[in-house]
Amino acid sequence: MLSISHSRRKFLQSGVGLAGLTLPTFLKARLSSKSLTGKAKACIIIYTWGGMSHYESFDPKPEAPVDFRGEFKPIDTATPGMQFCEHIPMLAKHSEKLAVIRSVHHKQGGHQQGMYISLTGHDPVAGIKAKGRNNRPSLTSMLSYFHNPAVGTPSAIRMPYSMFDNGKQMAGEGAGWLGTKHDPVLLRTPAGKPYAGVNRYSDKELNLTLNLTEKRVGNRNALLEQLEDTLAWRVGHETAYDQLDHYRRMASDILLGSPVRKAYDLESEDPRIRAMYGDHMGGQSLLLSRRLVEAGVPVVQAVCSASDLAGGGGDNWDTHRDHFPKMKNRLLPVFDRSASALLTDLEMRGMLDETLVVFLTDFGRTPKINGNGGRDHHPGVYSLVLAGGGIRGGQVYGSSDSKGAEPGSDPCTPADVHATVYKAMGIDHSMELHDQQGRPFRICDGNPLPLT
């Protein structure tokens, strides 16, 4: 028995572990460094899949011609001089917590490409695939690489599903060359009205609801059998044994009494708090994010959108048609309520100073409204937002030009935003890691923005 234990350990150290910087080394590096000032211990990434319009959110252009500015009006926020779109009134009240970056831009006009650069910080190469091990690691997995939570606590969780475009799963959400062990664990949000449209639960997501009763957890044998059946079915024939084993081990560790299992049980949350987040999967996902961070999960990513863009049909942010009614009636109310509730909740629990909240999206939308009353893809300039984790709120970094078409001042890239995130989390963004072939990679090519 000892020999099996030993080989398992070796397996984890050599097979899954990296040739590059190991955790003890990192810890020593961190301790010897005086320059790292990061305060954030945890990070929640809110991803609006499809490309959120900067006009109808954080960068309204009331002075632009009518076919550019659109039909919504700006409103004042709690910060003098900062205005948001009228349909995010709750977030407007939180502006003193937000650093709004209005000058992000890149060159990737497609969903796969825009999402890849937004989540990994690097331009995609041709032929990237969802499960590719040569992909760049997502921000979610890279941040988790530097954390080592207790047993039964995954170092990164994403929910409620993967991002798809017309049935094809997107590359960029996994750990890529960091290895299977650092793939964020996919968790299904157990409550809330689902996003309308096409939602694909075809991956290895864990749905712990069935297994939550104490009686079952007490009976470990039955539990594991059930788990094996479920995972064997889900993971299916495409997965190597070690990957199955990784998930299986993770799942059983979660189920057998870790704080994460309790966090997953949204029924145990105060019903008034649940109501604050709203009875929608968008809100309940962010509520679950807070509970997971409380339970010791260092990195959580929530997709706030239907999972498949499906040609623009459904509740996703790819608003080529009927942009205004869709934003006003379906997308912005859920987003506004959920994200504001998260900020309120983190703040009153004293968690906001150590929890970094990051809003990401593929790109912005085109300045001119098209013939279908929609806006198309526009990576030329768009807005992203950071909050908490030592970020100074109530500030705007950079600007777009008068029509919202190009950066007006202080242009920056997704990589710069990532560098800012790494810095806030106390990680040296210029550090080099080695992939499994020993090739060196710099984790981020950007420069931190002065937002702290």
Partner: protein
């Protein structure tokens, strides 16, 4: 499907060994090897881990200790004695633990503490007097405790205190004002009034009466579009008021016909669809009777009697 038997074999083997060593091995791996390497972990750190706690060295020196994760089931007052041998403790998290007012006596000597979490514990005013000498305290979290105004008086000498969290406690506005007189730089978070929040929550608006889609009879003059255009998801209900069963056919984006089912005479059918979709109604011999074209709103589609 080929590798499946291998998977099952693997899982069977795993199951055999699981209870005996799997869990223990993983425990060891995650708590020990990856972080420090087993050999160089100080005994004071091991003592804290034994109690379900975690001790991490801080970048600027000193230690950060927490019992709020695995330790919350098992950790009790006496556990705080384990902190003595660790050295300077800068941050201590006791959230959700079984710490009591009595146990807080052990905090009196921790004068390096800058951050202290006592939220969601059973402590009240009598415990707070043990904090009055923690002069370096900058952050104190007391939400969901029994603390009231009397307890806050013990904090008035903590001149470095910058943030105090008091949501869901018994303190009053007056008590907070009084404390802020002594500590003018102090930020106090009182959080939300959940009762008020629930009362102010938007009431679900009464369901709007559903619009009816226009019936474009095949014998009429108005010709419908020949294909659907992709739109936003909506729901429609088809009501068959005619005296015969009908077929429900969706005109797809290329103009092709896709049969969705039959609706009996007098029957109805709920259908998820998209805006700007074209639905064709035929009799059972596929003779067209009429069309509906959906709009942005949920709606009814009434197939008329004649």
């Amino acid at each position: 499907m080929k590798p499946l038997p291998l998977l099952y074999l693997g899982m069977f083997l795993m199951k055999l060994h699981h209870f005996v060593l799997h869990y223990a091995a993983i425990n060891l791996l995650f708590s020990g090897v990856l972080l420090f390497g087993e050999s160089d972990k100080p005994s004071s750190v091991l003592a804290i881990e034994k109690l379900g706690g975690l001790a991490l060295p801080m970048p600027g020196g000193g230690w950060e200790v927490g019992f709020h994760l695995r330790g919350r089931e098992s950790f009790e007052d006496e556990g705080l004695k384990a902190l003595k041998n660790l050295g300077e403790i800068v941050s201590l998290n006791l959230r959700d633990t079984k710490i009591t007012n009595k146990g807080l006596v052990h905090l009196q000597g921790l004068v390096s503490l800058r951050r202290l979490h006592l939220e969601r514990t059973s402590i009240d005013n009598s415990g707070l007097k043990n904090l009055s000498k923690l002069k370096n305290l900058e952050y104190l979290n007391l939400y969901q405790t029994q603390v009231s105004d009397d307890g806050l008086r013990h904090l008035s000498d903590l001149k470095k205190l910058k943030k105090l969290f008091l949501w869901d406690t018994k303190v009053s506005d007056e008590g907070v004002r009084e404390l802020q007189k002594s500590l003018p730089q102090l930020f106090v978070s009182r959080g939300l009034n959940l009762e008020k929040l629930a009362a102010d929550a938007p009431k679900p608006s009464p369901p709007k009466p559903r619009a009816s889609m226009k019936w474009l009879s095949s014998s009429g003059t108005e010709s419908p579009p020949t294909k659907s255009t992709p739109g936003s998801p909506i729901q429609v209900t088809f009501l068959n008021k005619s005296k015969q069963p009908v077929k429900l056919v969706w005109m797809d984006y290329g103009g092709g016909q896709k049969l969705y089912g039959e609706i009996s005479a007098g029957g109805s059918r709920e259908q998820n669809t998209y805006s700007e979709a074209v639905w064709l109604i035929t009799d059972l011999n596929d003779k067209p009777l009429g069309h509906f074209v959906t709009s942005q709103e949920d709606a009814n589609g009434v197939i008329p009697a004649n």
